[in-house]
């Protein structure tokens, strides 16, 4: 994961203006277009896909790309294009649910630790730092060793594995915000714990988490594809992109299309979320725009 844990500062932006600004930043516009395209493809998969992704012998085996099979067929004669279109559903589901798990848990952890301060904060964040240093892939492997392999388990594993990342970012933003005078002003006004956390801290943490969460979808997609590639995630006959890549491995020289198109699909998806995340950051943080 490469997203720098810099808090997103600055003033609120009206929603309409924000979308407009997003469309005007090159990365935001391209990213938004890719992500929207993905969503449309995923929703309309049965309509778009010319063949049943699971049906064998939709065409000849290992046929190169042609008018009938835009991206060729695999070793079982399944249409690669149809499988990729249906794979978009799996990919988006994995990405959003995994981020949902890690974001929610990480947000709560970071918020509570940062607000509480003192020794609870020190112990909690020390623990988070340690687990963080194990890296997501090892934590995910450990989770899979416990849960057993499978796509749903891989998704949960990735969700759990990224909790420390979000906890750290939330914590760092909370530390910055907590030391601003506006927070002290709310304390001086006599605000309760809940009011301080949810009315004053949370709204100032959210912008950063929107950015990081968007970038996080791409990390989750990459991780899920990686686990499936290793055989730990999706199982046959699921049309998961990483898994499709792993079954292409022994056929690279004869049927490179089986390797090229699923990889391209992953790369474009990840690129889309990365660009969108960068774009949102530019919109929410004027400091970045000046660069």
């Amino acid at each position: 994961m490469s997203a720098p844990a810099e808090p997103v500062a600055a003033a609120p932006v009206a929603p309409r203006r924000a979308i407009w600004a997003l469309l005007r930043s090159p990365s935001g516009a391209v990213g938004l277009a890719i992500v929207l395209l993905l969503v449309v493809v995923a929703l309309l998969a049965p309509v778009i896909a010319p063949y049943d992704p699971y049906r064998m012998a939709s065409g000849p085996r290992l046929a190169p790309p042609s008018w009938d099979h835009w991206m060729g067929t695999d070793q079982l004669g399944r249409d690669v294009f149809s499988r990729i279109v249906h794979g978009a559903r799996l990919t988006l589901m994995i990405g959003t649910i995994a981020v949902g798990i890690s974001l929610t848990a990480g947000l709560l952890l970071g918020l509570v630790a940062g607000y509480a301060g003192g020794w609870p904060e020190r112990i909690l964040m020390r623990l988070v730092d340690v687990v963080f240093s194990f890296t997501e892939i090892v934590i995910a492997l450990a989770c899979l060793a416990i849960l057993g392999v499978g796509l749903i388990n891989a998704m949960i594993a990735i969700g759990i594995a990224s909790i420390p990342f979000y906890a750290r970012i939330t914590h760092s933003v909370v530390l910055v915000e907590k030391n601003k005078p506006y927070f002290e002003a709310a304390v001086a006004a006599g605000a309760s714990h809940l009011r301080l956390i949810f009315l004053h801290l949370l709204p100032n943490v959210i912008p950063t988490l929107i950015v990081v969460g968007t970038l996080g979808v791409s990390t989750a997609v990459l991780a899920a594809a990686g686990l499936s590639f290793l055989g730990l995630g999706a199982q046959p006959p699921q049309p998961e992109w990483g898994f499709m890549l792993s079954s292409s491995r022994d056929l690279i020289s004869g049927a490179p299309w089986m390797m090229i198109f699923p990889g391209l699909a992953i790369a474009i998806t990840v690129l889309g979320f990365n660009l969108l995340g960068d774009g949102v950051r530019e919109v929410l943080d004027p400091r970045q725009r000046a660069r």
Binding site: A10, A11, P12, K180, P181, Y182, F183, E184, A185, A186, V187, A188, A189, G190, A191, S192, R195, L199, H200, P203, N204, A290
Partner: protein
């Protein structure tokens, strides 16, 4: 008069569509000090950076004009040729000594590299020259300084290094951009003195960029006043101060607080006809001590910092007690401690007779209704994602004072009370100017009807003309509502305008406390006297008395003893 050293004509600089400098012209003559003064956004800094090609290349654009120095137009020189001028013939020092030196390089290398570059000196010769310069700027043990890194020096010492670095090549012109703004007043006085010494020794012309009229009066021969990118007036310093021609200059000078202006009065200027007089004691604090633990982690604390030691004072209704001191004196810590925004290690704090330290979290929240705070940076003190109407309403909601339409009416009334319009309610903090933001903060503080307001440097982030308005508002509110103020400030002139009584703090202790007129008029502690002597007077005819050389180690820092009625001095 001989030909000018530097001749600037019709200089215009734009940031995007905004003209930051618009047709600026002036001459700078050899050996003189020309001050360019203005408030924030006047273009004073931008215009001088433009001369040396130091503007950020992507955002700023020089739109026109000439700057002739030594027969060549600086604005049209190639990078290479301009580089030969920079640091060599025209040197520059900046506002932030803490960040203006490269942290990973030794002082020695930073001092010698320009000498090697421009003069082609050998390392040894450059080193000798650097040592000589460090001696000239009055730094102790120059050989040791050469080996040190910037983080090992204090702010004042770093600014001395910057001056040594700038003067080592004996430039024709020294551009000083707010050189003392980040420094404490006593250090400022030393640095200004040093700059004058250097000028006398090397005959350098100084282009001094500042917002501080006191510094202008003390340093400048001639003055250029800028406002919104344009020059509004230019003239000899005495003429500018004595008979300003432009309205803007006159207004600016009128807004500058002058230390000594109220030396014949006991209290602040009455704003309303029948101001409330000081009444019963609202806040009483005694024996407050606080040590901040050093960063030590598991291996134990590595010596804490004493932030407060045995600090005590009281404030009456309708009265202002000013806490004054330099950075690190513990004045802000004391202010936050009485509000229990920070827990003291020892001491007693009473608000209207109630022991604040004995309160539970719940009762403390209730008690906060009686005490409010106004912060130094009004922008940071307003939550950027909540509308100001809701921000002002929040304390009233918390304390159940009003709700619904009554709440809205009260917010509207408060906004009007501090000179804003109720239509502003829906807007956010970033849509207001600095002065308006501070008014909003004051309205929020007033909303719960507090007895005590702790104001921590409430105007030091504001321009001087805005400062005057905010101070007047605070005086008016106090006089009509009988508020008690604990007014924290580093600015002696502002304190004189605001305070009934003054407590001077140094290194976490109160060294002198008493009626404002006595403490500022006839200080009994040598540190108070030094602070007062260091304040630059916004009057070019006044001769600054020779600064008392203060022996910091021998200052009496013991317990307070009463030397006159209500006047206490550390022994």
């Amino acid at each position: 008069m001989s030909a000018p050293l530097l001749q600037v004509r019709d200089l215009s600089v734009a940031f995007g569509p905004v003209r930051a400098v618009d047709g600026l012209s002036y001459d700078l003559h050899a050996g003189e000090t020309l001050a360019i003064v203005g408030e924030s956004g006047s273009g004073k800094s931008v215009s001088s950076m433009a001369l040396l090609g130091l503007l950020p290349p992507r955002s700023a654009r020089i739109e026109g004009g000439t700057a002739v120095f030594d027969g060549q137009d600086l604005l049209r020189l190639s990078d290479r040729d301009l580089r030969r001028v920079r640091g060599n013939r025209i040197a520059m020092i900046f506002q932030e000594p803490m960040t203006s030196l490269t942290p990973v390089l030794r002082i020695g290398q930073q001092l010698t590299e320009a000498l090697v570059e421009h003069r082609g000196l050998s390392q040894a010769a450059a080193r000798d020259k650097a040592l000589e310069m460090l001696r000239l700027v009055d730094l102790s043990d120059p050989p040791r300084r050469m080996r040190q890194f910037p983080h090992e020096l204090s702010g004042g010492m770093r600014q001395r290094v910057m001056i040594a670095m700038a003067m080592a090549l004996e430039p024709d012109i020294l551009i000083a951009d707010e050189p003392t703004t980040a420094l404490d007043v006593t250090v400022q006085a030393e640095i200004l003195g040093l700059m004058r010494d250097m000028q006398a020794r090397f005959g350098t012309a100084i282009l001094l960029i500042t917002h501080d009229m006191g510094v202008v009066a003390e340093m400048a021969d001639r003055v250029v006043v800028m406002h919104r990118g344009r020059k509004v007036e230019e003239g000899p310093v005495r003429a500018i101060f004595g008979s300003p021609r432009a309205d803007y200059t006159a207004a600016l000078l009128a807004a500058v607080p002058r230390l000594g202006a109220r030396s014949a009065e006991d209290g602040p200027r009455p704003i309303i006809d029948q101001p409330a007089l000081p009444g019963a004691v609202v806040l009483h604090a005694e024996g407050m001590s606080k040590v901040f633990a050093g960063r030590g982690g598991i291996f134990g604390q590595s010596g804490g910092t004493v932030a407060m030691h045995d600090v005590g004072f009281s404030v009456r209704a309708g009265e202002t007690l000013a806490l004054v001191g330099e950075s690190g004196s513990g004045k802000s810590t004391s202010g936050r401690a009485v509000l229990r925004l920070l827990e003291v290690d020892e001491g007693r704090i009473e608000l209207e007779g109630d022991d604040m330290r004995a309160l539970s979290t719940r009762s403390l929240r209730k008690a906060r209704r009686s005490m409010q705070m106004v912060f130094q940076d009004p922008f940071a003190a307003l939550n950027p994602r909540i509308s100001i109407g809701r921000l002002i309403a929040e304390p009233m909601l918390i304390h159940g004072i009003a709700r619904g339409s009554e709440l809205e009416d009260r917010v509207a009334a408060l906004l009007r009370r501090v000179g804003l319009e109720p239509v502003h309610m829906k807007r956010f903090a970033h849509e207001f100017s600095g002065g308006q933001r501070q008014r909003i903060c004051i309205a929020r503080a007033l909303s719960v009807g507090p007895k005590l307001i702790v104001a921590d440097e409430p105007t030091s982030a504001l321009d001087v003309s805005v400062q005057a308005q905010v101070l007047e508002l605070m005086l008016e509110l106090q006089q009509s509502m009988g508020l008690a103020y604990l007014f924290i400030s580093h600015d002696m002139a502002v304190v004189e305008e605001m305070a009934h009584r003054v407590a001077v703090m140094r290194q976490g202790r109160i060294v002198e406390m008493g009626p404002r007129r006595a403490v500022l008029g006839a200080p009994r502690h040598p540190y108070t006297a030094a602070l007062l002597a260091a304040v630059p007077k916004p009057d070019p005819t006044a001769q600054r008395p020779k600064l008392p050389r203060l022996d910091l180690k021998d200052l009496p820092m013991g317990p307070l003893a009463q030397t006159a009625p209500d006047h206490w001095v550390a022994q």
